[in-house]
């Protein structure tokens, strides 16, 4: 009897403890995300990693308000805009050059670029593990390296030398973190990394024309060459910049659009003048890029920041078609027939950031418009060619290239150029395209230009922006701050 009870007990107990209590129950696959092994087992996913890096460019912390603030509002091309009461967090300080290391714009730009670099490194890490066609893999790697170089190019222009992270770093690898992630390299080393990535990308990438029409917008050999030419220009490697821009020109892939105004309109997107641009569509737009710069008031098209300055208005030669293509004057009738009313806050807005609701793709969502952001364009290459050519004595080539640009802008061709005239042309051609500040700094003209715009540029300090304070704290002080901040 007792035995029987014991048996019964044992059975019950055992069944209780084992039924449904298999330890294997703790091992299962996720439902809401994809496991690494499963992801890597499908070769079609390789391209998705590459697309994921491109996609990062659309985030707010990449080219939106903060980038606009530190590259454009700082310069003499643009004012803060909006209403006096709306400081845009720190945009008033950007405009007045009174910014500091705690301003959110710097944090955004730093974080966005490093997140993007992290994505690129992760993509490269896993691309290696995919069993796919080698030619395709080469192209993918080339695309990612182009993007990584682009992100470092933004960083070096903003902050000077920065930490160079080029591999996927394990979170517990404290050695790599202390010695790589938190240690700033010199400006030269940073440019060397950019050059290395771009040279490799040039070898791997096809010409723009070799891409299928569905692939338009991917980084091409020409894009890598153009960015490299620009990187050489910033380092005053005139001969290399001259040669590299020459390669882009001789590739036969690009030409100027007949109408300058079309370069920034939807019709010009991915046109022959376009070398590389950030692709935005209605459903996947560049977050708030046009919204930040859209006319403020009624009808409410945006926040009204980054308005073209009077200084810019006055800088155009008479008859320069680029003035009215760059600056939206209100009130008036816009190119698409839209009536710019008197009930807008500011007299001028950035036309290059205007997305037409009536003549271009539009779904009413101001925060996500279809406006592509032009990063590299053929006219930029001609200007690089001209400037570099001038420095190595190829003045007639310089004059010819400047003439190409002037003629398209409705101005007369020139037979001779000076550095001054090349840079003036550069300003007019590239106005409101986020290059003006960097051009002034790299050519040593910032102080004079700022003074003319009523701002004080501090030599020895303002050439670079402050490293964001929260990054310095996060590194426990290992990241060095720039002088003067």
């Amino acid at each position: 009897m007792k035995n029987r009870v014991n048996k019964k007990l044992t059975i019950l107990l055992l069944s209780a403890l084992t039924f449904g209590s298999c330890e294997e129950d703790l091992n299962f696959k996720p439902n809401d995300v994809i496991e690494v092994d499963d992801f890597l087992s499908d070769p079609n996913n390789a391209i998705q990693l590459v697309n994921g890096v491109y996609s990062k460019q659309l985030d707010y912390n990449m080219y939106s308000f903060s980038w606009i603030g530190i590259t454009s509002i700082t310069s003499d091309d643009a004012d803060k805009g909006s209403t006096p009461t709306d400081t845009g967090t720190d945009k008033g300080k950007m405009d007045n050059l009174t910014f500091s290391k705690t301003d959110i714009s710097f944090s955004d730009v730093w974080e966005g670029r490093y997140q993007a670099i992290g994505r690129a490194n992760t993509a490269l890490f896993y691309l290696d593990q995919f069993a796919i066609d080698q030619t395709l893999k080469d192209r993918y790697i080339g695309e990612v390296k182009f993007l990584r170089a682009l992100f470092y190019f933004d960083l070096v222009r903003c902050f000077g030398g920065v930490p160079l992270v080029t591999t996927k770093i394990d979170i517990n690898d404290s050695d790599a973190i202390d010695n790589i992630v938190y240690v700033r390299k010199t400006k030269q080393e940073t440019y060397a990394q950019i050059e290395a990535d771009l040279l490799d990308a040039i070898n791997r990438l096809p010409l723009r024309g070799a891409y299928g029409s569905n692939e338009l917008g991917r980084a091409s050999k020409g894009a890598a060459q153009a960015l490299l030419a620009k990187a050489y220009l910033y380092q005053e490697k005139w001969q290399e910049a001259f040669d590299m821009s020459g390669l882009v020109m001789s590739s036969g892939q690009y030409s100027l659009l007949p109408n300058y105004a079309n370069v920034w309109r939807e019709v010009g997107e991915n046109g022959t003048e376009s070398i590389y641009e950030v692709q935005a569509t209605l459903t996947k737009g560049l977050v708030d890029y046009t919204n930040v710069q859209g006319p403020r008031g009624t009808p409410d098209l945006g926040w009204g920041f980054n308005t073209p300055s009077l200084n810019l208005v006055n800088s155009y030669e008479a008859g320069d078609l680029r003035k009215n293509a760059t600056i939206l004057f209100a009130p008036g009738v816009l190119w698409d027939g839209f009536i710019a009313p008197t009930t807008w806050n500011n007299p001028r807005y950035n036309y290059k950031a205007y997305q037409s609701s009536v003549a271009e793709s539009w779904n009413g969502d101001k925060g996500n418009t279809a406006k592509n952001l032009r990063i590299l364009k053929y006219s930029d290459i001609l200007l690089i060619r001209a400037e570099a050519g001038f420095h190595i004595g190829m003045t007639s080539e310089a004059a010819d290239r400047i003439s190409d640009i002037r003629v398209r802008a409705g101005l007369s061709a020139v037979t001779s150029v000076t550095l001054e005239s090349i840079l003036k042309e550069r300003r007019a051609e590239m106005a409101m395209e986020h290059d003006r500040w960097f051009d002034l700094v790299r050519t040593g003209r910032a102080q004079a230009a700022m003074a003319a715009d009523g701002k004080t540029f501090l030599i020895g300090i303002h050439e670079v922006f402050p490293i964001p304070q929260d990054q310095i704290i996060a590194s426990d002080g290992k990241l060095a701050q720039n002088t003067g901040y």
Binding site: S55, L58, T87, G118, T283, S356
Partner: protein, 994 residues
């Protein structure tokens, strides 16, 4: 022969008497069953105890003396008789007889060795509230309840300070043995008792689910006798408890003109002066009706209840209605050897939500903006630059805040929740000593919601001079988007299954109980489906996707999203041994081995032991003659509890889709993937270790009772999300970060006295002190973590070893410069923590004849609040009225506030405020009607004020700030970003039973 027969019959009778099993039920004086009553046959020394239903059986001869004893009751002797014995024990004048539910078992309150607070129905029922949890605020030491006044929302409860950080800080609820994440709108009327387990030695048996404390809810059961019907009803109105006075249009103009350095930027003579908070709020209303029917027969008990609860929120248009149906039955089979209980709840809630951000917009929007312009168009912040007046035709949009009234008007969100939860439990008495229990509990929720957005109307409300034609023209040749309909469906399911075997035996003076078992829990089985379409007919009867003119044909593509969570599964094996000697010495030891699916292979399992002991000093001989001390017990316990809550269900490296990008001349979307966060493969259990030392006493003829607990808990390897360098991880990564210490003392006192038959009163109070300190930061990322971001580049917190977790770290205001702007310290300073160092509760009750009166208060102190909504001001937005009472001007350089400014405020001590408060939770006056109809047992009417007063120096809406960002201590906790006013409620109610 005759004598032989006599002898034989005697023999047989004796024989029969000897082999007789006496059985019966022991109840208390309220006719409730009493478990664990010791029963001894005086002559033979045979002993047994009653089961959970007060039932017993023991072998004894008829006429033998049985002694029934139980701590807290007068020992009673009875002669064994034929037939069932029903014994009622009289209460000794204290409450130690109360049965407390502990993990996987029950215990007499007097034998408890851990820190457990019990709250009985009588303490809850007199204070009507939407939730039973609300009603216990201030009644238990170390239990902090944060009110949530949103219609239908539950208050949050925190036991012994900040426990775990991820996965919610809510305790585990165990309703009649079944785990639940909340009380799911259970009516307070249904609750018989709440046992709050606070210390690690009591909680360890529950494992990680108990890491934030456990609240055990025992519901009312049907009682034997006649069927009982109860009806409870109340109606009340809700008001804003505390308003923040905002500047009127004159002060607004003055401030902004000064900040602007332009005396005529805004005219001082504005046509409108809007009080935005007034415009978006109404008086709220609550109404509740509850009916229950209960009873019991020999082999079954039943309980059925239905509740209807309705609320109209103070935010205009917000509504909530809930219907609960609850059925609980218990069946006894096989001569009481098998007990099956079933509990089934259906909750149907309908909810019209309105965006709480309207409160924040009302705080920010300028008073010069009208709700409507004179021509009937919605007000917008447009200034005429010439006149400085608000002007519908003005060009200067001087701030970016929407019209909160329009925001509410155009918000159409409706939600319906159907929740089914319940349990089935079987308890089988295998032998005299062994009982086997199996509990299965599950919860299923189905949610349905829609949201309709009239895009065209919203456009018109924001562009006060535009017409619908302008709106249509703005789409050019594209399809005009008139409205958006979003439909949401989701369901979730979770369950737990516990099986355990209990051995219980009394050997003379030794009382041994042992439990072994296993538990399996599956959570987060969740799936949703969400879709969006444009352009349905505007009448709400047409709001379905099929009627959208902008459909899959005209706009093909993805309009439906679907998400499925990864479940979290945990498995545990546990055992506990309890030993009691002579009712004086108690020892309890438990161990739990628990595994969870979240962590990686070798990190899944943890072992968590606990041990505790108690000594009932007052039972000792030398204390017997002490007239002052009626009861004295000391307890000591140590326990470890694991916590495995993480941000992600599985801690593995993953890819996430959605990083899409357009390519091609037609800009077609190409799918993209990325790794949203990096993973630390070493992530494992966080362990909380706690030592608790406690004293329970009753003195002065049991009139003064009290409990004092000292505890020292250290959470090691605390699981927290941290920011890694951006290049390593875009999102936050969850890591084991360091050690956090919580040390404290809890004391509770209660004075109960009955002066005469007409007068009785009680006063109780509790106090707890807690010191939180970050002892160590093990993780380099954690050690340098900055938090408490305000979204404008300013941060307010930083990890600092030696300080409370989540301490404020901001610039110290040092004075003002020549322009009246603040000057600051060069380095940030520690400016206190949002965690209170002490909390206290007071309650008072008095009964005079048929009147009863009670009042409760609750307070906290030692905490700071960052007035974030004030510190987040952008230019052109409103300011608080008081600002201009004292501010810097060249002639008043000592004004308290700086000169008006529009720049983003620096995170500084200026915005740190004292968060201490004392709130009167509840004042109730009740009157029990004299018997006026024989069928009615009791009828009581009452009036109650809920949260009528608050005393605080804090200038914001509420010092009870849960904080956004999931109340992450290094995130939004303690920062008032949203201006959400708390409510006060006045109720009138009725209880009837018959």
């Amino acid at each position: 022969m005759k004598s032989l027969i006599c002898f034989l019959s005697l023999f047989f009778v004796t024989l029969m008497a000897n082999s007789q099993t006496i059985s019966g039920t022991v109840t208390d004086d309220k006719n409730l069953p009493l478990p664990s009553v010791n029963i001894i046959v005086k002559s033979t020394g045979k002993a047994t105890t009653t089961d959970i239903d007060g039932k017993f059986s023991i072998e004894a001869a008829t006429g033998e003396t049985l002694e029934f004893s139980f701590i807290g009751y007068e020992t009673t002797t009875r002669k064994a008789g034929l037939g069932a014995m029903d014994v009622s024990l009289k209460t000794e004048a204290n409450n130690l007889n109360e049965v407390v539910v502990i993990g996987y078992g029950t215990k007499k309150l007097g034998s408890i060795t851990g820190s457990v607070t019990q709250i009985r129905a009588s303490d809850i029922i007199k204070t009507p509230s939407q939730s039973a949890i609300q009603a216990i605020q201030g009644k238990a030491a170390g239990v902090n309840i944060v009110t949530n006044d949103e219609p239908g929302a539950n208050p949050s409860i925190r036991i012994r300070g900040l426990g775990t950080i991820l996965g919610g800080r809510d305790p585990l609820y165990v309703v009649d043995g079944v785990e639940a994440t909340g009380l799911n709108g259970m009516s307070p009327n249904e609750i018989y008792s709440l046992d709050i387990l606070k210390d690690a030695s009591s909680l360890a048996i529950y494992g990680q689910k108990g890491a934030n404390g456990v609240i055990i809810v025992t519901t009312k059961k049907g009682k034997k006798g006649k069927m009982r019907v109860s009806y409870d009803s109340y109606y009340g109105q809700k008001f804003i408890q505390k308003k923040v006075d905002m500047a009127d249009s004159y002060r607004f103009a003055y401030y902004n003109n000064t900040a602007q350095g332009n005396a005529s930027y805004f005219s001082f003579d504005q046509p409108y002066n809007t009080d935005w908070l007034d415009e978006i709020t109404d008086t709220g209303e609550v109404m509740s009706n509850y009916l229950s029917i209960s009873g019991a027969s020999e082999n079954a008990t039943y309980y059925f209840s239905a509740t209807n609860y309705k609320e109209k929120g103070i935010l205009s248009g917000a509504q909530y209605e809930r219907n609960n149906v609850n059925s609980r039955n218990e069946f006894r089979l096989l001569d009481n050897k098998l007990k099956i209980s079933q509990n089934f709840n259906l909750v149907v809630a309908n909810n019209i939500t309105k965006p709480l951000s309207a409160f924040t917009n009302a705080y920010r929007q300028s008073p010069i903006v009208p709700v409507f312009f004179d021509n009937g168009r919605w007000g917008v912040p447009l200034r005429n630059p010439t006149t400085g007046l608000i002007d519908i035709n003005g060009g200067d949009r001087f701030n970016n805040v929407g019209n909160p009234a329009a925001q509410l008007f155009y918000n159409n969100d409706k939600n319906k929740d159907v929740t089914l939860f319940g349990s089935v439990s079987a308890e089988a008495k295998l032998t005299k000593d062994f009982t086997y229990t199996s509990n299965f509990g599950a919860k299923y929720n189905s949610y349905k919601g829609f949201s309709f957005t009239p895009d065209d109307q919203i456009y018109l409300s924001q562009n006060a001079t535009s017409t619908i034609e302008d709106y249509e023209a703005s789409f050019g040749t594209n399809e005009v988007k008139y409205n958006t309909l979003k439909q949401k469906r989701s369901d979730s399911y979770e369950y737990n299954w516990d099986n355990y075997l209990t051995f219980k035996r009394v050997f003379g003076k030794h009382d041994v109980t042992a439990v072994v078992g296993m538990s399996r829990t599956t959570k987060k089985k969740f799936e949703n489906l969400e879709g969006t379409r444009f352009n349905v007919p505007v009448d709400s009867n047409y709001w379905s996707f099929d009627l959208a003119s902008y459909n899959t044909e005209t706009a093909p593509g993805a309009v439906v999203t679907n998400h499925r969570d990864t479940p979290v599964v945990s498995l545990a094996y546990f055992g506990r041994l309890e030993y009691e000697y002579n009712g004086k010495y108690m020892l309890s030891a438990s161990i739990r081995r628990e595994g969870i699916s979240t962590f990686q292979q070798s990190k899944k399992w943890g072992v968590f032991p606990a041990v505790s002991g108690g000594w009932l000093i007052s039972e000792e001989k030398f204390m017997q003659n002490n007239k002052f001390i009626n009861f004295l017990k000391i307890r000591v316990g140590y326990g470890e509890i694991g916590n495995a809550n993480s941000l992600n269900s599985l801690n593995i490296p993953i890819f996430s889709p959605g990083a899409n990008y357009a390519f091609g001349s037609n800009q077609g979307i190409n799918p993209g993937s990325y790794q949203p966060y990096a993973v630390d493969p070493n992530l494992t259990w966080e362990t909380m270790q706690e030592v608790d030392l406690g004293i329970d006493f009753k003195v002065l003829r049991n009139r003064l009772s009290g409990t004092i607990d000292l505890y020292d808990r250290t959470s090691s390897d605390v699981i927290l999300p941290v920011d890694l360098p951006d290049v390593i991880s875009e999102g936050r990564t969850v890591v084991n970060t360091g050690d956090v210490s919580n040390k404290g003392i809890e004391a509770a006192l209660r004075w109960d006295t009955k002066i005469n038959d007409n007068w009785s009163y009680w006063v109780s109070g509790n106090y707890s002190y807690n010191k939180n300190e970050l002892l160590r930061a093990d993780n380099a990322y954690f050690a340098t973590l900055v938090g408490g971001g305000l979204g404008n580049g300013q941060t307010t917190k930083q990890v600092l070893v030696g300080e409370a977790l989540g301490s404020f770290y901001v610039y110290q205001v040092t004075g003002k410069n020549g322009d009246g702007a603040f000057t600051y310290s060069s380095e940030k300073v520690v400016a206190g923590s949002y965690l209170p160092t002490y909390t206290y509760g007071l309650s008072f009750g008095v009964a005079y004849k048929n009147f009863d009166f009670s009042a409760d208060a609750y307070g906290v102190g030692g905490n700071k609040i960052y007035n974030g909504k004030k510190a987040q001001r952008f230019g052109g937005e409103n300011i608080e009225f008081d600002y201009l009472d004292s501010f810097w001007t060249p002639v008043t350089p000592n004004g308290a506030n700086p000169a008006p400014f529009n720049e983003v405020p620096i995170a500084s001590t200026y915005y740190i405020e004292d968060g201490a408060y004392l709130r009167i939770n509840n004042i109730t006056l009740g009157y029990t009607l004299p018997k006026f109809y024989e069928k009615i047992d009791k009828a009581r009417i009452y009036i109650t004020a809920v949260n009528p007063f608050i005393f605080t120096k804090y200038t914001g809406y509420s010092p009870e700030v849960v904080g956004g960002d999931n109340a992450n201590p290094l995130g939004g906790a303690g920062i008032e970003l949203d201006a959400y006013p708390t409510n006060k409620t006045f109720l009138f109610g009725l209880n009837v039973s018959f």
